[in-house]
């Protein structure tokens, strides 16, 4: 007589290699996923397919010469990267940035946050399987932000706009009116977009309660940015450790409770609204005056070390610079937001389906340029 014990099927783990060249790994991320049918039982991330050795290359460049590298770190938000790096060097060298320069920096950084979240939200929908539509609508608005940057520095992606002690060139006359004209359009678009997304039953079913990241785990993994705030951590460096002139603006820090994919989407949309709020205040207050401090092209900061961090669109982006008094940094380390935010991916995806694995990964919003550096 056969018992239930004997009838149990012997199963083998099904190992699926996802990436490095896969349509929704946001670049060249690779996962070795162990599947049980459709259920993901384990994943092992493999990195390094875009490891360009920026930290080593920076040791042979001058301090100003490193700024182009920072553009290419997180290529979805180069302005924020520039800002973080310049803050670190200014902290090291003790440079004071003039008022106008500070305002220009804030405006560009917040516009960059809008542009980044456009892609983050759009790509997240693509990973959920929407055939490009939400992505392209977001991209249409992103193009408008690109136009503004184009006006500012003549580049569309890698701006190389900020300098140590300010920015490379002054605002063109038509820039601020253009921003003022763009913001109401974006606000209207966001209302519309959020309405349609929340009405979409399939998206809600796919995202609510999926890929939950608990608050404790998020803190333990060092996760920051919208992902952490979606898990209920009310931590924003713009508020908790104000750099530049963020203490002059009024804005809220949107948080959510559940820490699922829907909350990550929701927090990003709310953050875009807050960025619009900051921009509205900032463009009214821009003072006249110099846009750049009087800093030599080749600077020799005193020997020492400095760490400056900013709230980049993806989270805490930090630069740790050790100087030996020469024209090049002795050691240049980047705190990679994307790499550290991925730290909890394995805990988030285990037990979910393959489709969810892709979706949860998309909802974290990473850039491989920053993960691998």
């Amino acid at each position: 007589m056969t018992t239930t014990q004997e009838l149990t099927l012997k199963t083998e783990p099904f190992i699926l290699n996802i990436g490095p060249m896969h349509p929704s790994t946001h670049g060249v991320f690779r996962m070795r996923a162990t599947l049980d049918g459709e259920v993901v039982t384990d994943i092992e991330p493999v990195f390094g397919y875009l490891h360009r050795g920026i930290e080593k290359l920076a040791e042979e460049r001058t301090y100003t010469g490193i700024i182009p590298f920072t553009d290419r770190l997180d290529y979805l938000s180069p302005m924020s990267n520039n800002l973080g790096y310049c803050l670190a060097v200014e902290k090291l060298a003790g440079v004071k940035v003039p008022e106008r320069g500070e305002y220009i920096r804030i405006i560009t950084a917040e516009l960059q946050r809008l542009a980044n979240h456009c892609v983050a939200i759009g790509a997240m929908f693509n990973d959920a399987g929407a055939y490009f539509t939400p992505f392209l609508y977001m991209f249409r608005n992103r193009e408008k932000i690109y136009d503004l940057f184009d006006m500012l520095c003549g580049q569309r992606v890698t701006y190389n706009y900020m300098r140590i002690g300010g920015v490379s060139q002054d605002l063109p006359e038509e820039f601020l009116p253009a921003v003022a004209k763009f913001l109401p359009q974006l606000k209207k678009f966001l209302d519309e977009y959020e309405f349609f997304v929340k009405q979409n039953e399939v998206f809600v079913a796919r995202s609510k309660g999926v890929g939950i990241l608990s608050k404790e785990l998020a803190i333990n993994c060092g996760i920051s940015g919208p992902v952490a705030r979606a898990s209920g951590i009310k931590h924003d460096l713009r508020r908790d450790d104000p750099y530049s002139i963020y203490d002059r603006f009024e804005f809220d820090i949107p948080t959510a409770e559940n820490g699922d994919c829907f909350d990550r989407f929701y927090v990003r949309v709310q953050e875009m609204r807050q960025s619009v709020r900051i921009l509205e205040q900032a463009i009214k207050q821009v003072p006249d005056g110099p846009f750049r401090a009087n800093v030599p092209q080749v600077i020799h900061p005193p020997a020492g070390e400095s760490y400056a961090h900013i709230e980049s669109p993806k989270g805490e982006l930090g630069y740790y610079i050790v100087s030996d008094g020469s024209i090049a940094p002795y050691r240049f380390h980047i705190r990679p937001t994307s790499l550290i935010n991925l730290g909890a991916l394995r805990n988030m995806v285990r037990g979910w389906k393959v489709a969810d694995l892709i979706f949860i990964f998309g909802s974290i919003d990473i850039t491989m340029g920053e993960v691998d550096r």
């Binding site: 060249m21 670049g27 384990d42 875009l50 050795g53 892609v119 991209f139």
Partner: protein, 211 residues
Amino acid sequence: MEIDENKDYIYDAHELDVHEGQIIEKLKANSQKSIPDPDGWLDEDIKRNIVLTSLDWVIDWARRSSLWPVACFPACCAIEMMAVEGPRFDLSRFGMEILRASPRQADLMITAGTLTWKMAPNVQRIYNQMPDPKWVIAMGTCGISGGIFRSGYNVVPGYNKIIPVDVYIPGCPPRPEAVIYGIQMLQKKIAKSKAVPDLNELPNPLKKGKK
């Protein structure tokens, strides 16, 4: 299969990693010279003064009108590639909105981004998986020569060390207009190619050892 929440973060895929490392080292040793661009036929064509037939014209027209790119977007240029696909620049006008995720169904590889040695075997594999006829556009300075990362220890100085490249689009990253221009250049190039082979040049199975 039960999911053990407390299972340690250990994998026994060491052999796989070692194997991957060996492949990379082998490729690195073998690809020190640039692969010449596959347009030698252009000169030859002019020399021999071959007239394209109308069948050639039809096939070339079909090939250049429907270039399906494969998704090969390692780095920064991918953003501009997406912008080209996007509403403003709109690659769908040329019938190129079908981004095939599987290289088996694609004709064109737009290499948007820096190539690292760790990635090189994968790119080569994708290229080999594409069915003939296939074309490659090296997009951006990193794709052409390694760009500002050229001196890096893990960066391949240009895609043409790994795969033959048809069209180069400079820029870091190139603007979408430049990308569209590059694609049109490729279309011109395809329009000149000879699709139907000469019967005299084909190997004759009846005569062994002779063409």
